[in-house]
Symmetry: C2
Subunit: 146 residues, 2 copies
């Protein structure tokens, strides 16, 4: 899929067994056209930018439906809010603790060695790596000059 338009959002939703309503298309379009990690709050603001279209309940219902249907994934790094991620490929994250910004790390080529055996009777659901970063000494010094 080259470009994300509201039109191919409907196809995308159908392909994940989701009935494409107006509100669902808008929410999907907010996430997929930007390809960014957004909180429910941010999505609400985007979708209701021009004129109020979608209620808080619908935003949350829709995001939870998208999660359930595995159209998007969630990223838990901030104790105050969940980030929703349109990228469902296996990948990891840089998390800038100062700005709150999340950046993808392609899982291609990243390997983890030496993890212990799993406890008895459980299976792995996924492995997340979060690299917490913050502006470094150099960057701070440069800001001082400005």
């Amino acid at each position: 899929m080259q470009q994300y338009s509201r039109d191919n959002m409907a196809e995308l939703l159908r392909s994940h067994d989701i009935n494409p309503t107006h509100q669902r298309i808008e929410i999907a379009y907010a996430l997929f056209s930007r390809q960014q990690h957004l909180s429910a709050d941010q999505i609400m603001a985007i979708v209701n930018d021009r004129h109020s279209e979608t209620s808080k309940a619908t935003v949350y219902n829709t995001l939870n439906l998208f999660l359930e249907k595995k159209l998007i994934r969630e990223v838990i790094v901030d104790p105050n809010k969940v980030f929703y991620d349109p990228n469902t490929q296996l990948h990891h994250h840089f998390y800038n603790v100062t700005s709150g910004e999340l950046t993808d790390i392609d899982a291609e080529g990243v390997t983890i060695c030496g993890l212990p055996q799993l406890p008895e009777g459980v299976i792995t659901e996924g492995v997340d790596i979060i690299v917490r970063i913050r502006p470094g000494a150099t960057a701070q010094a440069q800001e001082q000059l400005a």
Copy 2:
């Protein structure tokens, strides 16, 4: 330190530049004697088990003070609450998504290869690995029999 008693909690607090008050000692003792990952809520319940001793405000104030003084660390895996971890060694976690249980993974011997270069002007604050697990097919089958 072999055993954790309320007495050596006072020393521990002092060694981290924290004035050891009654409430602070109780909260530290709850975490260190159990060596478990606990939420603020759970700590509140433990500390006030017999008779009410410590207010909600003090529990949160104290946990944030402990964090600031690097006596404990926090673990962000559950969207609904923060877990407080008395283990400040470098380590990772198994997270049982079904039960909510957290288990330590010693960082000794675990290595990550192939992470990309850091973005310009930032430094690493830490790298967290979270292995999400859940009861497996076998375990479920065994439960069926019971």
